[in-house]
Amino acid sequence: MLATLRYTLRRLLLSIVCWSGLLIGFGVLNVVGFDYVVRESIDPLLELVESLPPPLKALVGDPNDFITPEGFLHAKFFLTAPLLLGIGGVLMGSGLIAVDEEKGRLDLIAAYPISRAGLFWGRSTAMLAALTVIVLLVWVGLATSAIATGLDLHVGALALSCLTLWAAVAAFAAAALLFSLVLPSRILAAGAAGSLLLVCVIVENFAPTMPFLDPVAAVLPLHFYQGGKAMTEFAAAPLLVLLLMTVAQLGVAGYLFLRRDIRVIGEGVLEVRRVSLGAAGWIGAYALMVLIVGAVAEPRGVHRTPEEAFAAAQQAVEQKQWDQFVACLTPSARDRWTGLMIVLGELSRPDDSPPPADNAAWLTGFSRSQLQSLLKGASGFHEAMRHVDRAQLEPYRDEINATLAGGGPPSDDTLRRIARAAEDRNALLRDSLAALAKLTQNRIEVSLEDVEVDGAVATGTLSLMGTTQTVGFQRLGGDWKIDLPVPGASSTQPPQGL
């Protein structure tokens, strides 16, 4: 088996060089491109996305997902990489055994004292090793260029993304190998596996705007590919699904190879029995995958309905997992809440002189001084404000003061502009919510009712401590998110006696 592995790896050397070169070039371009595309124009980009109609916005996805280095690499590199390297994997897998059969070379090699199992697993291991080397080189290329350009990427987290890329490509390569053992020619096998890859990419891309594609997307391999998202919210279960799928397909392919005849030139016969067996094996591998998904491996962070998004947010609050709570919000809601937190932070700064009017009742019913006193108990709240570049708040200082003095909640637009002062909006929101949560140990009863879905948007009624409020939902990138209004918004009926 070792001799087979070494020989196959040597034959794959050119593929390794070509595919890793292509991917590294593409990746480095994206790393360098982040500066030009995003860093210079985050706010116009966000405004542009915000101005899009809901269906287009759903297609674009969460803009926060691409204004960060991780999000940008995910959108620009890791979403394309499975297609690019997938083609390489499909060519490798389909040719691993079939090419030698078609050229008549396997007849001689298989007549040497090596077992069929040794031959198959030697070659399969070499294929996986070649993909590993390619992905490893891509990781080195991305990490090196990120370090060189000062891009704030954690190389360990980047490795996780590369790992998920490897798993996705390995799954398609294994499918191509399996197809090559049941179809009469390598070309047909590559065509079938390549088509599957293409269908996966298309479905995965269009599912966010076409809900009827959801059930299809949910059982396709790319659904379990995390790509750049693994850098921020890696989940082991989807990776496990891809790995299991690869192993299952290789297992079926190995079983077929052990039982079938070695073909020689011109014996490209389509055997219905073998095709049926292969198809059954492939469907079996898929069924296994779907079962696992159904049981344990639902990809994290994907909510297929508004109710799922709400339940996830509720669970995140109960478990005090504020990262996950923030991830459940629409970009607008995140900005709105970030702006609010900054306003709260400014309001409660102990070193500042009191604003002209002691009027913060719009928010909680507390007076400003009471709020200031209360927030002293929220240890970590002021530390969370370290993410605010206060110099950037200066242009909004009047608006903040006016808001405090005006007795009403800031508008969404105001809050969004205030939020721009935060260097890392998600981190600020996460940390400040975590600090505020320390103020109460009581469980807050919240429920969602009367959800109405209209394409990529939905509305529902939120009941919170005796108040009701209309809450919006948006479907972004196939994922429902909550457009949560800040307390004191116009639709809120203010609580009495708080």
């Binding site: 020989y7 050229k103 070379r105 001689l108 007549a111 004292p113 090596i114 069929r116 070695i262």
Partner: protein
């Protein structure tokens, strides 16, 4: 459990059948090859020669029947069988990106190493092969030489050679036959599959004739040659009707000209023919012994005829 490892037979095949959907490639092949003999496996293209060899190496799986190669069932222990076999495929294809030496080194590695490279160099010299050249730059004949070297280089106890002289010039064909004889002299068994009768005639001790997936005859090569099959040319002074000649047992009219000139194929004694033509004036008679090729072709011609009448005729065996 019977231990077959010490069996006198190098190859033992019983009722071997191989079907590809509707096509019956082998239809109950029975074959015994003794250790230390050069055994010819003769048949036209598509007769089932390669299929039989590939079954012996477990490259393809029989639909029915049993095989033992050097006492081992190739389906149960294919690695053990292959470890003792040097195989030259009928359609040889090698990795174009390697040199001849690279291919031989790779194949040696697959066998676990241990090839005697002095012997390999000697084989290359005898076959006039430059081992430093890339496979993609080699002619078909030179590739065939690489194939022959890889088959012989480990001194295997059994050589399965499928059309070994294909693509070689006559000088090299003779060298291959010499290598085969040397291997036999060293104790190896050689299974020599070919459709070229002259080389089978020159190289083999016994041969089997295969036709349409069936063994139709197994016999010592010499007995094929010694068959009293001959060609007879007759020139009559008076016209002799064709029916007179055709009615004689063992006589087949091959050519006729104006009932005066005949070319016949006669199997067996000439006496019945001579008695049948006593009423006609014979101006000249000439006879010649048939070559193996003619025997074979005549055999096939008969077989075609017989096959039309009875497609289930069993093999006859002469030892």
């Amino acid at each position: 459990m019977v231990d077959h490892a010490d069996s006198e037979l190098a190859i033992e095949i019983r009722g071997l059948t191989k079907s590809y959907d509707a096509l019956q490639a082998l239809q109950g092949v029975d074959l015994e090859v003794r250790r230390g003999e050069v055994f010819g496996f003769l048949g036209p293209n598509g007769a089932g020669k390669t299929t039989t060899i590939r079954c012996m190496l477990d490259l393809i799986r029989p639909s029915a029947g049993s095989i033992r190669v050097l006492g081992v069932d190739p389906q149960k222990d294919p690695v053990k069988v292959r470890a003792q076999v040097g195989y030259l495929p009928g359609e040889l294809n090698l990795d174009d990106n390697l040199t001849s030496r690279g291919v031989l080194r790779l194949l040696d590695t697959l066998r676990g190493g241990g090839a005697n490279w002095k012997f390999v160099e000697e084989l290359a010299r005898r076959l006039d092969l430059d081992m430093g050249r890339s496979i993609k730059n080699l002619s078909k004949g030179n590739k065939q030489k690489v194939g022959l070297i890889q088959a012989f280089m480990h001194h295997p106890p059994l050589l399965l050679l499928d059309e070994p002289t294909g693509g070689l010039d006559p000088l090299m064909q003779r060298e291959v036959l010499r290598l085969t004889a040397e291997a036999r002299d060293e104790g190896a068994t050689v299974f020599f599959s070919s459709h070229i009768l002259s080389e089978v005639q020159a190289a083999t001790d016994r041969l089997a004739v295969v036709r349409r997936g069936r063994i139709v005859e197994i016999a010592p090569t010499q007995s094929f040659l010694q068959r009293s099959l001959r060609r007879v040319r007759l020139e009559f002074g008076t016209a002799c009707p064709r029916e007179v000649l055709a009615a004689v047992e063992g006589v087949k009219v091959l050519e006729e000209s104006e009932r005066l000139h005949y070319r016949l194929q006669v199997e067996g004694d000439l006496d019945p023919l001579l008695k049948a033509i006593t009423d006609y004036r014979v101006k000249d008679i000439a006879t010649e012994a048939a070559s193996l090729e003619e025997v074979f072709l005549a055999y096939y011609s008969d077989e075609e005829h017989a096959a039309a009448q009875n497609d289930h005729r069993g093999p006859s065996t002469t030892t």
